[in-house]
Every structure is written in structure tokens, then in C-alpha cells.
Symmetry: C4
Subunit: 201 residues, 4 copies
Amino acid sequence: MNKSRLEAFSDGVLAIIITIMVLELKAPEGHQLSDLFSDWAKFLAYVISFVYVGIYWNNHHHLLVTVKRISGSVMWANLHLLFWLSLLPILTAWAGESHFSAVPMSVYSVDLLMCGVAFALLQQAIMRADPSNTLLADAVEGGLREKLSTGAYIVASFSPLLGLPGVWLSGLILIGVALMWVVPDRRIERVLAAHQRSSKS
Amino acid sequence: MNKSRLEAFSDGVLAIIITIMVLELKAPEGHQLSDLFSDWAKFLAYVISFVYVGIYWNNHHHLLVTVKRISGSVMWANLHLLFWLSLLPILTAWAGESHFSAVPMSVYSVDLLMCGVAFALLQQAIMRADPSNTLLADAVEGGLREKLSTGAYIVASFSPLLGLPGVWLSGLILIGVALMWVVPDRRIERVLAAHQRSSKS
Amino acid sequence: MNKSRLEAFSDGVLAIIITIMVLELKAPEGHQLSDLFSDWAKFLAYVISFVYVGIYWNNHHHLLVTVKRISGSVMWANLHLLFWLSLLPILTAWAGESHFSAVPMSVYSVDLLMCGVAFALLQQAIMRADPSNTLLADAVEGGLREKLSTGAYIVASFSPLLGLPGVWLSGLILIGVALMWVVPDRRIERVLAAHQRSSKS
Amino acid sequence: MNKSRLEAFSDGVLAIIITIMVLELKAPEGHQLSDLFSDWAKFLAYVISFVYVGIYWNNHHHLLVTVKRISGSVMWANLHLLFWLSLLPILTAWAGESHFSAVPMSVYSVDLLMCGVAFALLQQAIMRADPSNTLLADAVEGGLREKLSTGAYIVASFSPLLGLPGVWLSGLILIGVALMWVVPDRRIERVLAAHQRSSKS
């Protein structure tokens, strides 16, 4: 099967997700700076979601680099990931419009949690499709960042339901997790580099 | 002629179809969980359509893998398939908004029927363009799943007009057909595998 | 310079144009068949525009097949073509919503005329960028279909302003031109085939 | 790392940005020519933004042609550029709807300034990722056009706040900068050509 079409389709969907979110921002109704600033919550939600989709595109790219063979279940695991990512634009709009009120923040965090779960399932489907891909297996093994993120998403999903400080906590967690991921995944890069050296010698 | 641009264009259109459906979901107006749940019908319709577009992308991918030569009629048969698929987003929104009432369910099923017909026409156009492609001819021959789906779509198109139990039947049929297709098309994979073995020996 | 990115970008824009037009269709407000049928004009406008974008994608594909070298002016000529095509979705919505009244029909025809002019300019830019591309020069020379289309678009642009029969004439012309183009451009295919034969012998 | 997916993703995002802007144009409400012409400001804003996105696609293409190796920071620098470009559709709609009033014109100019800054950061990230890319370093060195544009964007960002003549100045500057860039970047082309000659001899 053909990895390049999987990449092309995923790139297409991610490019559309990251771009249609801006349609939900809508132009301010008035023409003053104050009209622009009164939409700060929608803009901030847009920035955060933009960064998250960027992270997923980056990680998806890193993940697929190591792949040689894909199967039907890899395709469906990939569509499953795209499904949860596709909900980000409306949940971003919901969180922004509500000025980050409790339920929208919680649902937004649950969606990010599902994206994380779906990404882990995609990694496993890829490893099952090609058990000889030890490169990926080595890189995934540790997975500290993934475990931290999962825990953080779970806290961010429940905390908003405990009142305003919980909403703030949830927001800070989501920003913190994003920052943690913006740093590129050096593990895969390191393993790849080590492999290139060893295959040359 | 160039198969890769046909794939790229189709990937683009399918990626956009699967993603703009989410724009029809719209963020709930209130900020409570009950506001989210009152949109369950639109969300369920979105999930089903997402799976169907995923199925078509998968099958399109499998179909094109075997293809070496395309012609003008393959291009138009492909556009014809994309046309019926392009109607899914608004028909999904219509079915969801109406909480799956009879006429929207029936029209939605008719559109899926037309997609199935268009896919069969595309297969035939591809076989006419390259009669030497015995790989595809072998794989298509049986076509049990296609025949079952066609029958099911016809029932699902008419049953909603016979009252509420017919609407339920239609819904169950559409979910059942989707599940039947999520299983990857082992026929083409098997024929391809057999061919690779024989060409190696 | 890199032809494949020009193709990829054009495919992306054309895929989006052909798909976002469906967003303008919108789901009918009521849930009866009569609600669906009352939107017939918007649906018909959608079908016609879908076919026209399909024609341009097809012709663009045929045109680029022969190209080896592109220049900055080819890029801008290509963007110029995409500009006029990008206006089709809103002009389609306008023509459909107005139930094909005179001014929207006229403006829609003017846009198709501009698309035709832009395509001719793109052909010329490509020929200037690579004068050695005799393949394309041979194929374009005759250009009967292009001349007929240009004349037809001009008539279709003015006739709606002369009253209802003129609107009908305009509609029939646009459908006729579309049908004329759905037949693939055998000239380029023939010249290409002749060239392959001669280069083999 | 894989340059082609960076290009594909950027092409996708740019294709969507350039095309969804047209959704903000919306079909005129009435069906007369006067209804069309009363939207002149939105149309003019659309044309200018279309040209700017075209310029960025062109320059992005030129920039990436010289690149062999990309890094994680190139990816994020690229996403940063796409972020500011992604705001163009709503800022275009805002400027157009307001008939180019002061604050929307100023904010639109600030966004173009940020796009310019982001493009410069992307150039630097690319040069850091591959210091051996002397081709790019040579071409960027001069950078007169970039400096002129930056100054012009700064003036265009502040001048609208000084009253109507300042708004006009801002509009003229933005059109002037666009025209300056439509001319292809001969520097990179010249350096590339010189390099090809020297590597042949």
C-alpha cells in the first residue's frame, strides 16, 4: 500500500482544519480597536488550537517518516485521529464564544485527550503493520511526554467543573502541554541519526 | 496521462468534504452540557458521514493502486463520483437538523446509492481504459459487497417514506453497510499479494 | 523552477473551489420534498459550475502535461486564471438564489469569459517560457473550440440584458459550451500520441 | 526530514486561505448591477489580498527551491508564517465591510508587517538549518525589497490613525508594495542560473 496518499490526505485534512478555524473568528462588527479587543477570547482560543494542530502535523510527520508499510488498520487509525482533530474548529469556537466557561473548556480538553489516545492507537497500528520497524519501537518506548500529556488532559477535562479556579487551571495546563510539544521530538531525530550512522559504518 | 494528479485532486476534494461537514455542526448556542447533547442528531449524522467519506477514500485508494493508464472518461467518471460525494455535507446537515425525519433520510440514502453507482462506473471506466489490467478485473468480479450495498441503499431510500419504523430501518441499514465496509477490501489485497508472489517466482 | 508545486497548488485551489460551492447550497429549511425542489435553481447552478470547474481542471491538466519549464510569468498567469475561477462559487450562489435573473446570469457569463481569456493567456505564457515546446504550439494552433467558446460567452454576457428570452438563450449557451468541452481534448492527445510514435521510431 | 511534506502542507494552507476569502465576499442581496457595485470595497479588498497570498506563495516557492535540509525550527517558523497569513481572510473582510475605515486598514497593515517579519524569520531558520546553503545566503544578502516593504508596512500601519489622507496613503502603499513584488525575484533566479553555469563548467 501507498504511504504517500495517506500523507497527502492527512496533510489536506490538517491544512483545512487549521484554516477553517479562522472562519469561526469572524470579522468584528464595529470598526474600532475596542471591537477587535472584545473578541480576545476567540482569538486566544484560535492561537491555542492553531498551535495544537501544528503540533499534530509535526508529530504525524515525524511518525510517518519511519514507516515503510501501511495496512488497512493504519488507514482507519489515521482517520480516527483526523476525526477527533476535525472537531477542534467548532470546539475552539465554542470555548472562545463562551469566554472560556466551564463546560466548553472541559469538552475541549476531552477532545484533546481523545486526539492523544488516537495518536497512540495510530502508533500501535503502525508498529503492528510492520513489526520490523524497530526504529519506531525504540523511539516510542519511553513516551514520557505522552504519559504526562495524557494525565494533564484528564485533569484539564475535570477541573473546569470545579469552579473558576479549575477553569484557569485547565487553561494553564493546555498552554503548558502545548509548549512542551513545540520543542521538536528529539528522541526520534536522535534514534534516526544513530541509525544512519550505524548503517553507514 | 498522469494518474498522480487525479489522485491529488481526489484527495483534495475528499479532504475538504470530510472537513467542511464540521462547519455545519456549528458550536452550541448555550454553554451547558445539555446544549451539547441537544445536538446529538447532528453529531451522529456527522460521524456516519465521516465514516462513509473515509470508506470512499479507502476504496478509491485501493482502486487506483492497480491503475497504470487513465483516460478522459476515467477523469469524468471520477468527477461524477466526487459530485455525489460533494452533496454529503449538506445532506448530512439536513438529516441531522431534522432529527432524522423521513424525507432527509431518504434523500441521504439516495445520495449514497448514487455514490455507489458512480464508483461502479469509475471501476468500469478504468477497466475500459486499460483492458490489460487483469488485476482489477479479477478483484472486482465477485463484487458481493457491492451488490449487497446497492440493495441496502435502495431499501434505505424507500423505507423512510413508510413511517417511523421505516426511518429506523433506514438508519440501521446505513450503519450496517458502513460497518461492512470498514473491514478493508481483502480481495484486492489478496489478489495483489498473489500477483507479487507469482511475479517473483 | 518546479512544475509540481504549481500543479499541487492549482489542484488544491480547484478542489476547494469545486467543494465550497456546496456550502452555498445550504440545507433546505423544511423537511419535505417540496422544500428540496424549491431550491432547484441553486442546485442546477451548482451542477453547471461543478462541470465548468471540472472542465478547467481537465484542461489545466492536459496543458501542464506538455510543460517542462515554467517561469515567473507562468505562475502569475496561473494565479490570474485561479482568480477568475475563485469567483465562480459566489456568482453561482447569486445566479441560483435569483432564480437565474438577468444581471446575475450576465455577470456569471462575464466571469466564464474572463476564465477563458485567462486560460489563453496562460497558454501563451507557457509557450513564451519554453519556445522549444512545439508539442503545445502544434496542439493550440487550431483552437476552434476556444474561439467558439469565446464568442458564445460574449453572447451569453449580453443577451440576458435583453429580456427573458435572452436569459434563456444565455442558459442554453452555457450548457452547450459545457457539453462541447466535456468531450476530452483529442487534439493534444493525438499530437502527444503521434510524438511518442515518432520518438520511438 | 522531509521537505516535500512541508511544501505540500504549505501549499494546502495557502490554497485554502486564498479560496476561503471568497466566502466572505457573499453574493449580493439584490439582483441589480447596483447591488454588485455597492460591494466594490469588499471586492477590491479581495483582489489585494489575493495578490498578497499569491506573492507569498511565489516567494515561499522560490525560498524552498534552494533548501535541502529542514529542521524542527524550520517547521515552526513556517507555521508561524502561515498563522499570520491565515488571519488575512477575516482582516480582508473587516477592511472591505468597513469601506476601508481607519482601524481595519491599520490592523490589516500590521498583519502584513507580521507576515513579512515571519518570512524573514523563516529565511533565517532555513539558513541556520543548513549553513552550507550559500545559494540562499547570497540571494538574501541584499534584501532591498524586504527592507523597503518593512518600512512601507510600518507607515501603512500608523498612517490610517491620522485621518482620511492617512487611510488613502496606507491603501496606496499596500498596492505599491504588492506591485513591487509581483515582479519575480530575479536575484534568486540569477544566482541559481550563475550556479548552474559554474557547476557545469
